[in-house]
Amino acid sequence: MGISNQDIENMKIKYPTLEYVEQENTGVFSGEVLLNHMYDGVRMTGKFNVDIIVPREFPLALPVVKELSNRIDKTYPHQYTGGYLCLASDLDLKMHFSRDKDISSFVDKYVIPYFYTYRFFEEYGVYPYGERSHGTMGDLEYLKDLLNVKEWEQVFDIMVFIIKFTYRGHMLCPCGSGKRIRNCHGRILSQMVDAGLREDCIEIMIELRKVYGKG
């Protein structure tokens, strides 16, 4: 658990401007992230001073990123107090780390795109690849995208299935397609369970009950 030497090496190669330090059993990559990236023909540049904090319990606990130079406008909605960045839905991050624990790839896939989004928003007032609603709704939106289903009911049924998880490949898929699980959402459901999303599904359910009442 925690950060591996390989992680530190990979970061040194890919992000040489970030220095690794250990603080109270926590690994921190600290320094400047250079943005010079293109998406859909639009190029964004910029410099951001960050601390990428990798907790000792990683990957069970997720890394967090803090922007230190006040480069992100206070009114930008996708940040927590204290300069911490809302990179993506926690479910999204858990799924990512269950497949790939390399920190440099986390920077490639979440930190850089976050700063790109921020700069694009600063320039044009819109999000280049969309945004999520805050809170539980954003988690649900992520699940809907991940499962590639059209109806909220399908997301709900799949969450119930994950909570009760008794996987048999020949069972009918909870998405309601009429196909067997193994020929439908089987793989993604296993990945979700492996990534520890069962706990999140329970939390989402409890939250939904609170908001919409019983029934």
Partner: protein
């Protein structure tokens, strides 16, 4: 870091590359004259003349669906008919009917009927095509001319007014327009800007277009560009890209608004200003007008007594058409207040992209050029190598930001 001067020259080069070429100008002039001659032969008494950006020398290649598109050039086809003895429906359709009598025009005519014009499509020359939009019209009625004069438009200008047709749903209406008077108004203000350094500019143009012009005298005035005309082109192009990226194309300020306010502002300025100095002055004024959003009308008038080009009166925006006192160019800002709000946000973006960026690091500057003009076009038009430019990496995943 490259000097401000080098950067300005590069931006100008890129803008010039989106302007109509001398060949296309010549070609378009021949084509619209031919349409006029043809319609006369068809016994449709009419006069055909350019209006809008082609007549003002502010043409810029349109940017549609995130790419540069064909040029649209507008021409009024003014029939020698009494407005009171004809109808908008007849005027609009007789022009099409006559055009369709020719196999050539019939095949070039776009089947869609636009609200105000017919479009004749011309083939591409060097990969760039152009459309000639024919706007049918008749001279304005005495009644409307009197009304214009009653609202303080001078007789000479009022007499030049035309009535163009406007199709809404199945019905046709008349709308007053005055491209001749507008051109006169624009030229009177542009004249000193055009005269400044004129010979030098004409000589440069000749050198660049030796295949089209044999001597300096052959260069038509319509191909010359003053600092004011360049500023208008810069703003129009930036607007097209910016509103497209912001996914708000419906809120774009019209070219008429941009041209009018720039020209009005330029009226009080020194005609020897260079393009970027003029741009700075105009953008400064735009920013002042932006204060209309936070100050009360009374506060604004008190603080900026002589800033009357964009006005807010009783909560309504006004940008008066200089040749039609009955036409408020900002009418749609009142029905759609987001338009005004976004206009002033756009102003900030122009300032950042074309004025502040001149001080940025090379890499950031090139990125801005690429975003505003497309990276392929930038690479082929200017020497990018002189900038310390690092090729960008591609974004590999697109997580959506979220908050607990």
């Amino acid at each position: 870091m490259n000097s401000k001067r080098v950067r300005e020259q590069d931006v100008l080069k890129l803008i010039e590359g989106l302007d109509i070429t001398p060949t296309m100008y010549k070609n378009a002039t021949e084509k619209y004259t031919a349409v006029g001659t043809y319609l006369q032969e068809q016994e449709l008494e009419c006069e055909i003349f350019p209006q809008g950006s082609f007549s003002l020398g502010t043409v810029i290649r349109p940017y549609r669906e995130a790419k540069e598109a064909d040029y649209d050039l507008d021409f009024i086809c003014c029939l020698n008919e009494d407005k009171n003895l004809t109808s908008a429906r007849y005027v609009k359709n007789i022009v099409k009917e006559k055009l369709c009598n020719s196999e050539v025009y019939k095949s070039r005519l776009e089947p869609t009927e636009w609200d105000k014009c017919w479009t004749i499509k011309y083939a591409e020359v060097n990969g760039v095509g152009f459309n000639i939009d024919i706007v049918p019209a008749v001279p304005e009625s005495d009644e409307v001319i009197r009304e214009l004069m009653a609202r303080n438009l001078c007789r000479n200008d009022a007499d030049l007014a035309v009535a163009i047709t406007d199709k809404r749903g199945a019905a046709y209406y008349w709308v007053t327009s005055n491209p001749h008077a507008y051109k006169n108004w624009f030229e009177s203000i542009n004249r000193p800007f055009l005269e400044f350094n004129r010979e030098v500019r004409r000589r440069v143009l000749l050198e660049k277009s030796r295949t089209v012009y044999n001597s300096i005298e052959e260069i038509p005035e319509g191909m010359e560009r003053s600092a004011l005309q360049r500023v208008i082109q810069i703003l129009k192009h930036h607007r097209d890209v910016y509103y497209c990226r912001s996914r708000n194309e419906k809120l774009k300020p019209t070219s008429a608004i941009i041209t009018t306010i720039c020209t009005e502002i330029a009226q009080g300025l020194n005609p020897t200003l260079e393009v970027f100095e003029l741009l700075q002055a105009i953008v400064n004024d735009f920013e002042i007008y932006g204060k209309n959003q936070i100050l009360t009308e009374e506060q604004f008038t008190r603080q900026f007594e002589n800033k009357t080009i964009i006005q807010k009166r009783n909560g309504r925006w006004y940008i008066m058409n200089p040749v039609n006192p009955m036409d408020n160019l900002a009418d749609s800002w009142n029905s759609e207040p987001k338009k005004a709000e976004m206009f002033f946000t756009w102003v900030k973006a122009i300032k950042r992209d074309y004025l502040e960026s001149l001080q940025y690091e090379d890499n950031d500057f090139v990125a801005l050029l690429e975003n505003n003009f497309g990276s392929d076009y930038v690479k082929k038009s200017i020497d990018v190598k002189k900038y310390a430019n690092i090729a960008p990496q591609i974004i590999v995943s697109t997580p959506k930001p979220w908050r607990r």
